[in-house]
Amino acid sequence: MSIEAYILYAITALLLLISFIKDKDKTKKGLIKGAKSFFQLMPVLLPLFLFIGILLAIVTPEFISSVLGPESGLLGYLFGLVVGSITFMPPFVAYPLGVELLANGAAYPQVAGFLVALMSVGLVYYSAESKLFSKKSAILRNLISFIGAIIVILVVLVVY
């Protein structure tokens, strides 16, 4: 488990304890409600994991390094944005990969665009997100993040 997970557990335990001291019945009711929404949401979320598992098998860090090389040019920018938008990667894999890409000669703006798209655009979540909220909402959130990634590229181009 990561440190962030421990913190999450600690905060939840503390709040549960406070809640329990203040009102036992309310706490019980809350936990039952939480469990209920868990069982309602899981069927929507589970198919996602299979998809993410397949993606992670195909789009490995090595694959990305080979695509985002120093000579990839404008196409490389586009590729970084697209690959970043489609795939999913935990941050502790993504950022070291970013460092490696830079060390291998990839340009700063290109790496920035890739990392931002990777973190903020979540096309893998699209199916679940459009079911839970709405298609329009899911498209808007991803679109805003994608435009954001392009703007970040431009900003980094100016600064570096």
Binding site: M1, S2, E4, A5, I7, L8, Y9, T12, L15, T27, K29, G30, L31, K33, G34, K36, S37, F38, Q40, L41, L45, P47, L48, F49, L50, I52, G53, I54, L56, A57, P91, Y95, V99, L102, A112, L115, V116, M119, S120, G122, Y125, S127, A128, E129, L132, F133, S134, K136, S137, L140, R141, I144, S145, I147, G148, I151, V152, V155, V156, V159
Partner: protein, 179 residues
């Protein structure tokens, strides 16, 4: 049958991809399954606290409070709170969806919920710290400040793009998911 296909497009797409990669290289399939299992496990690790928090939120925080703090007239304060909640979080964006739903259910403004989701996806503190230690302070800050501005503007703009009825449907859906 058609309805089943329509409802499970995503699952069917995954199965199709599995068949294709099995033909290309069976070790890829094996890897895909191990990855899936790892993902499910890591999700299950953070799921109990998330849903406990949702339950507690549901019973302790009443609608009026949420409307006052994050509702349509909450202004900058509502946005600041959305930022705070998104930044002090842990886990993948997927884990934020149930929390966003309960916020909507309790009457939070759509733009605030969207902003919360976007901050969670890329500006949460654990990520920012990790960013700084890997790609450096300057590079991280350029990226994060730019994204923060885009998220604020994007969230405000999105709210405008929704009709009143559409926002009401969103809220109704959210209520259905946590009865």
């Amino acid at each position: 049958m058609l309805k089943f296909i329509k409802k499970n497009k995503f699952l069917l797409l995954s199965v199709l991809m599995l068949i294709i990669i099995s033909i290309i290289d069976i070790t890829l399939t094996y890897k895909a399954f191990t990855n899936t299992w790892d993902q499910v496990l890591s999700m299950l690790m953070i799921v109990p606290p998330i849903f406990a928090l949702i339950g507690l939120f549901d019973v302790w925080v009443d609608r009026e409070t949420v409307i006052k703090l994050m509702g349509s007239n909450s202004g900058i304060k509502g946005m600041a709170l959305a930022f705070f909640l998104g930044a002090f979080s842990a886990g993948p964006t997927l884990a934020a969806f149930p929390l966003a739903l309960i916020m909507l259910k309790k009457g939070a403004k759509y733009s605030n919920v969207l902003f919360f989701l976007m901050v969670w996806s890329s500006l949460k503190l654990p990520i920012v710290f990790y960013q700084i230690t890997t790609i450096g302070f300057k590079f991280s800050m350029i990226i994060n400040l730019t994204m923060l501005i885009i998220f604020v503007l994007g969230a405000l703009l999105s709210e405008k793009l929704f009709k009143k009825e559409e926002l009401e449907t969103l809220q109704k859906k959210a209520i259905n998911y946590s009865k």
